[in-house]
Subunit: 486 residues, 2 copies
């Protein structure tokens, strides 16, 4: 279904782009391109003889129109931090990489209106800093914040550990500018709180992984800067107790920023493998939760007092075994380090398969217990466990290799074990991709597990907007062969 | 581009539907159909010889598949309260009406999770009552709440006067079930807080006015029931002062439910024409704002105290001329009656053209002043004014007839004056449809004023998902002729 470019289409394109924009925009030096051909985790190796680095939306539009005329596929790329190979070009060298990194201006900040208009290449931590300098906060954050760019964060509907209060990117995008596959520019930057002019193109582009449009800028919501925060660590009996505690907090306040769950096993690995870590509570507990709550200036009760009050209620109701509130910012950071080091500690302890999945929050405790049990029964010797964002129903479900497994275990077993895990997720009404997207890695699983309605709709939308399959081909959507006559 | 059904396709369809589902589902009695052929405001007259009333999603799917096979267009209908002719069938009688009203079950309420799963035919006020019985609130409300159904509210991304805190339907829909034009069922009801499995079909269906899918059920977010509310009325100098006051409130609290603006002229009309109304403040003011704030149990400061404190700051800063807080629920209702009666009072005072438009909140004060001035200069004798939801940038911009104009003034002038108003809106970066949608009424204006990118994208999405243009034809989207070979 893809229009096959003629073998030298990419070379014609490179020549034309070079002639029009010069070597700063049209890069053909293999050494300069090499770092952008492999994904962040080193799982996918692509090839490309052309790297485009436009500096403006108009340049992006012109390059896209040129590529469309020559039928050259484009792979948009920001910080290249995809966890699913979403920004790696195809291995056959047919596509050009279109990097947005040079488009890194924050065009405008309006702190009173709570709005920033920023280009796709702005790095997340730079936006954090820019907002903070104006007394505002861009509330989304994640591990790759020093590399990940806004265009990629929008295109993957990024989440992270702090989405409870203000949501994922989908909830923070107030406007978008994007270049569509025909080279036309969609200017949807105006932050309209009510706008019912038909299909919401901005929402469609969020999470589309660059397959429908290349995001060039976004209008993003800013919130009041945090005046203070409090971080607590609690030991609980089970994920069910953790959920009941979450409900207790949710009923009492909408200031909850994070609610993370950590099993004893994961905490143990961190304490064993990560230097300078210690358990926050003196006794062992089967499960732990990390709770963060914030306050802006105007709010009355300090977050530490509110957490303490609610934890006390949790203790009374038997939901909490023991708990402590970080007494300092350093201790708060130490609690977070325990949570954030789990993946690293697991890697140090042996091979594991990781799954970024979600189920409805109410279904999560059962899924964590029964899902792990099912995996361990089906694959004797493995141990399975989940940790992560209980508050938003998104856990990282890890299956660890049997003792003595070799380093290739994950590679050889993923084709067997991951589909088994995904089947469990689907049976629980969940999603096989909570926050990392589909990219290359999960494309076939998405095709295997989606309803005919969803699969047909994804392909129909893609074919409607990008009939020649030129935007990020091979990612996310599986295209059906065209019907005869089309 | 539309597949023209054979003249008797609708009759074949009626016979088949009747044979399969009986007369309760396939209604052909003209008297029973008649009430659903005209829009709520009586502006559009349609024709249909068949009204379908399925009772389940499976029945909807089967009817859609049958209609697709016979190429019979379907017009989905809920409470038939569209303000833009969005649910009125075409006048040529080629389409069947598919009413969702019999699908009126609330399938499930989970007060702890803050979730209701309700069918498309559930009437908004019934959902309010059902939620309240469980100590929860569905926070969206609007004038037609006694008739409007959830399917229509989803399909038009309904707003209303109370969207500041929890947003429009788009922000309240946690999951959707819909039948697509090929008869397949999209089951996206699971309330996943993080789900990145490609294009967000739920978000695409919200606001699509039934042109891409027929919404059969929705998972909706519920919030804590209001423990108390406070409503204040303030006199201000200008829309600019009103905006500054809004910012003061927004900076201090996220509990603001409504922030409405009313010009002196509109208040005067209400006091003149609506019985049992009186001005809340003793002296006249050029502009007024109505502010509502709520509190759930757990919050500390009572809303009346918080409003009073913030209004005092507003007085100090010269943003407020005078203000009063409703001393009772009856007085709060009386304040709201002033706001809610403006349209009725205007109708009593003479012909007017109404426009449901939005601009970025920060741009609204200038737009209100300068837009009115521009209209009055261009159309001597008219007077223009705006009132409504300042907090979400959505005002109702009314152009009143010159003195002595006849009752047909609006009909004859709308083709000249409304495009002029819409041009001003577009120049201000706004939307020609803030909350009412496009339907039939604004379809040509949407086509005239949208960017090529937007127009192309809307048509491409529609043609991808509904290639035979069978779902609500003639509404929202203007289809381009197909390219040769397709």
């Amino acid at each position: 279904m893809t229009a096959t470019p003629s073998p030298d289409a990419i070379h014609s394109f490179a020549r034309a782009a070079h002639a029009r924009f010069g070597p700063k925009v049209a890069v053909t030096d293999a050494d300069a391109i090499a770092p952008w051909l492999t994904d962040w985790r080193g799982r996918y190796q692509g090839a490309a003889s052309l790297l485009l680095q436009p500096g403006t939306t108009a340049e992006v539009a012109e390059l896209v129109a040129l590529a469309a005329a020559l039928r050259v596929p484009l792979v948009p790329q920001g910080g290249n931090t995809s966890m699913v190979g979403g920004a790696t070009p195809p291995a056959d060298g047919s596509a050009a990489i279109l990097s947005l990194r040079r488009m890194n201006r924050v065009r405008r900040i309006d702190p009173d209106a709570g709005i920033a208009v920023a280009e796709a290449g702005v790095i997340l931590s730079d936006l954090h800093d820019t907002a903070l300098a104006q007394g505002r906060r861009f509330p989304l954050t994640l591990g790759a914040k020093g590399s990940a760019t806004l265009g990629g964060l929008v295109s993957t509907n990024a989440g992270g550990t702090q989405v409870l209060r203000f949501g994922t990117m989908r909830g923070l995008v107030l406007g978008l500018e994007a270049v569509l596959p025909d080279g036309s520019v969609h200017d949807g930057l105006a932050p309209l709180k009510k706008d019912n002019r038909g299909y919401d193109l901005n929402q469609l582009l969020i999470g589309a992984e660059g397959t429908l449009g290349i995001v060039t800028a976004a209008t993003l919501g800013l919130v009041a800067a945090l005046h203070s925060r409090a971080v607590a660590w609690a030991g609980v009996e089970s994920p069910h107790a953790a959920l009941a505690l979450l409900r207790l907090f949710e009923a009492a306040t909408d200031r909850l920023e994070s609610f993370e769950i950590v099993p004893a096993h994961s905490l143990g690995l961190v304490l064993d493998h990560i230097p300078d870590t210690r358990a926050p509570l003196s006794a062992p507990h089967p499960w732990h939760v990390l709770i963060e709550m914030g306050a802006s200036d105007a709010e009355q009760e300090p977050p530490a007092a509110l957490i303490e009050r609610l934890l006390a209620t949790g203790l009374e109701r038997g939901l909490v075994r023991d708990a402590t509130i970080a007494a300092s910012e350093a201790q708060a950071e130490a609690f977070w380090k325990l949570r954030d080091s789990i993946s690293e500690a697991e890697r140090a302890s042996g091979p594991a398969l990781q799954h970024d999945i979600s189920v409805p929050v109410a279904a999560m405790p059962d899924f964590m217990i029964e899902g792990a049990r099912a995996v361990e029964a089906a694959f004797p010797g493995t141990s399975a466990g989940a940790f992560g964002h209980l508050g938003d129903g998104n856990v990282h479900f890890h299956v660890r290799a049997p003792a003595g497994a070799d380093r290739d275990w994950a590679k050889t077993q993923s084709a067997i074990i991951s589909p088994f895990v995904h089947d469990l997720v689907v049976a629980a009404g969940g999603s096989i991709s909570a926050e990392h997207g589909i990219g290359q890695m999960k494309r076939d699983e998405l095709a295997r597990l989606s309803s005919p309605a969803r699969l047909h709709a994804l392909a129909a939308i893609k074919q409607g907007l990008d009939p020649d399959n030129l935007f990020n081909p091979g990612k996310l959507v599986t295209l059906a062969p065209r019907r005869a006559g089309q």
